[in-house]
């Protein structure tokens, strides 16, 4: 128990500290790096809860994709973060109000939960997790077993979205204007063919 408690406070403290640093850091790139640290520690908290699937999802999706995307956006786009932060004190009351609303909702949710939750899931209990499986195994068994057809349809929906994006935006290259890359030709090129040695007189300049 002690080790669990220590691990929990360790992860939780780092999450909170790095979350604060995300907001406080002057350099936006540093903000994103702090955010990644926060994600990693949140994943640690999930492992402590026994939700290893969500932990892996956090690392793969949030750290691997979303945070890297943020990093790209921050580094590629010319956003004046100092100007964005200038309104902080002006907007602070609004932010506090939203925070208070969220807190109230959380408390309300916990109150309702304590009053007795609904039993969700399939009524015949076929979607219940077997006692001795890890949750990755249980999720996999559901996704690729009971819900295989829905999983496949979801895949086709994504495919249709991709077809749609390409159909509506792809510009076919104009005939003739196409720049073709011939790798073999590029490799066969020798320095002797490509360069010319000249020894101009002093003051004669170069020949173009």
């Amino acid at each position: 128990m002690l080790i669990q408690a220590i691990a929990f406070y360790f992860f939780a403290a780092i999450v909170i500290a790095s979350a604060v640093m995300v907001v406080m850091a002057r350099n936006p790139v540093h903000s994103v790096l702090w955010l990644i640290l926060a994600f990693f520690n949140a994943a640690g908290l999930m492992v402590l809860l026994g939700a290893e699937f969500i932990a892996m999802l956090l690392v793969i999706v949030y750290v691997g994709a979303v945070a890297v995307l943020f990093l790209f956006v921050v580094m590629m786009l010319d956003i004046d973060f100092a100007a964005m932060r200038a309104g902080f004190s002006r907007n602070a009351p609004l932010g506090l109000l939203i925070a208070a609303v969220l807190l109230a909702e959380l408390l309300l949710g916990f109150g309702a939960y304590n009053a007795g939750g609904l039993t969700l899931g399939t009524p015949d209990g076929t979607a219940m997790q077997a006692a001795d499986t890890s949750n990755i195994e249980a999720l996999g068994a559901l996704l690729y077993g009971r819900y295989i057809i829905l999983f496949e349809i979801a895949g086709i929906i994504l495919l249709v979205a991709m077809i749609g994006a390409i159909v509506l935006t792809f510009q076919p290259p104009k005939p003739g204007a196409r720049a073709r890359q011939d790798v073999g030709k590029q490799i066969r090129r020798r320095p002797e063919e490509a360069t010319v040695m000249k020894s101009p007189e002093v003051g004669q300049g170069i020949e173009l």
């Binding site: 969700l120 009524p123 819900y147 349809i153 159909v167």
Partner: protein
């Protein structure tokens, strides 16, 4: 769960998906030059899928044998009836497309995109899932697959601003409707503890709470958007006008059948224990659609807008059959759907054959003046469709309206039936105006352009179905519709 049996039940979807994936590769490598070949192959795949459902349709599949994937899908007689209609309508949308996209009417982008048939195929997969959904999750995924393909199809002429506008409008409003539907589903899930139709039905017994009632209303609103019933119809005229005409023909038929089929299944199988909760809503939507569809069409100059209002009006009659809330009403609704699809395909096929000498499509009332002199065959075909849509005997449109009114009046809803009959008289005005303009006005312009044999075949077939010859079909059609409707009420 028996996977082999489940996959055997969704074999038509597997065929369509496989064909879609293979043709996507052909489209990617062959480019738009391969479009015609892809369209033919796609139509063949739809035909094959149609053949696959014939035995089930003939013998009738119901009960536990029709459940696939542990009750996620239910491939019963009802689903098969709807699927047969959907595949026929999708084939029609493929047949009329190539010559439209090859003409100057398609704007600067000559020739059909090879992705058009592929999107129609994936859309058909989605529609097949919609009508066989037996769980809110499969319902939503089927709906999204259909909608997503439809958004792209509406905007497929990307250099045409009207097509782009139609696509964007459809996308934004469709996303909103999906959100509303999803919110309704989440409320129902929260209050009943399940997403399967039987689970939600079991949770909705007795006195319904406010939250669950909100769920019912939100789900019905989301579905009403998809079938463009009043008051969720605003997008229809704009999208129908802006989308390329073959796509409009597709929207007016196949997705409508799927969405109506889905709505009927949801109200009977999920809300079946709470008829009082939804009957008023559906009845209101039905009457409002009939009245608004009839009144809105009167001032229209554009023929595609006119047909959009006409489809709203027809959806009203279909919903009237639904609002009766018994097997007779559901059967009448299915018969009406079949006849409506035949009339719509015929109208759009005829419209696509009207071109000026440069090949531009004729789309307004001014253009079709005196059509009976310039193109008598098309004018007479349109006359049959218009009189049929107006419900004038002896055409089959009269029979469609007749079975709906019969079901309404036998259920004791005489007042509602009377309102609907009165409104259909108003609706007859613009259908007859269409005929008057074609037959009694002075001809203007030249209607030329040779039409393809495929268009003539389609026009001839639909005209034959709608003509009094169609009554030969009615006994077997009624038989199929009765069986399909009965399978909806098995769970009750």
């Amino acid at each position: 769960m028996d996977f082999a049996a489940s996959f055997a039940l969704v074999l038509p979807e597997l065929v369509l998906t496989g064909a879609g994936l293979a043709l996507l590769l052909v489209a990617a490598w062959g480019g738009d030059k391969a479009a015609r070949m892809v369209a033919i192959a796609a139509a063949a795949a739809l035909f094959a899928a149609g053949i696959l459902i014939v035995p089930g349709l003939h013998l009738g599949t119901d009960g536990p044998a029709s459940l696939a994937f542990g009750g996620l899908l239910k491939v019963d007689s009802y689903a098969l009836f709807a699927k047969a209609l959907i595949y026929l309508a999708a084939i029609a949308a493929l047949v009329i497309a190539p010559s439209f996209f090859a003409s100057p009417a398609a704007g600067t982008e000559r020739g059909m995109r090879a992705e058009y048939p592929v999107l129609i195929l994936f859309s058909s997969v989605g529609m097949g899932l919609m009508v066989s959904a037996n769980d809110f999750m499969s319902l939503y995924l089927g709906l999204e697959l259909t909608s997503l393909s439809s958004y792209v199809l509406a905007a497929i002429l990307r250099r045409d601003t009207r097509s782009g506008e139609a696509g964007l409008k459809y996308f934004v409003l469709g996303a909103l409707a999906s959100g509303i539907l999803l919110y309704g589903i989440s409320l129902l899930y929260g209050f009943t503890g399940g997403t399967a139709f039987e689970a939600v039905r079991a949770g909705l017994t007795g006195q319904m709470g406010t939250g669950a009632l909100f769920g019912v209303i939100f789900v019905l609103s989301g579905l009403a958007f998809k079938i463009s019933a009043v008051p969720f119809h605003m997008w229809t005229p704009d999208v129908y006008e802006g989308a390329p005409t073959p796509v409009t023909a597709f929207f007016a038929t196949a997705p409508k059948v799927a969405a109506v089929g889905l709505t009927a299944r949801v109200v009977f199988e999920v809300f079946g224990g709470q008829v009082g909760a939804w009957q008023q809503i559906v009845m209101f939507m039905a009457l409002a659609s009939i009245v608004f569809g009839a009144l809105g069409a009167i001032g229209q100059e554009n023929l595609k807008r006119l047909l959009a209002y006409s489809s709203i009006n027809n959806i009203g009659f279909i919903l009237l059959g639904l609002a009766v809330a018994n097997a007779d009403g559901a059967s009448a609704m299915l018969v009406y759907l079949f006849i409506y699809v035949a009339m719509s395909i015929g109208c759009f096929a005829a419209l696509l054959m009207l071109r000026d000498e440069e090949g531009n499509l004729y789309e307004t009332f001014t253009d079709i003046r005196g059509l009976s002199v310039t193109r008598p065959a098309i004018a007479w075909a349109l006359l049959i469709f218009m009189f049929s849509l107006a419900g004038i005997p002896p055409l089959l449109g009269f029979y469609a309206k007749f079975v709906i009114f019969q079901a309404t009046i036998e259920a004791g809803l005489v007042a509602f039936g009377a309102i609907a009959i009165a409104a259909s008289v108003i609706g007859a005005f613009y259908y007859i105006k269409f005929v008057k303009v074609m037959f009694f006005d002075e001809p203007v312009g030249v209607v030329t352009g040779k039409s393809e044999a495929s268009h003539w075949t389609l026009l001839f077939l639909t005209a034959a179905i709608v003509s009094p010859l169609g009554y030969l079909l009615t006994p077997s059609l009624t038989d199929l519709a009765d069986r399909a409707a009965a399978s909806l009420f098995l769970a009750v």
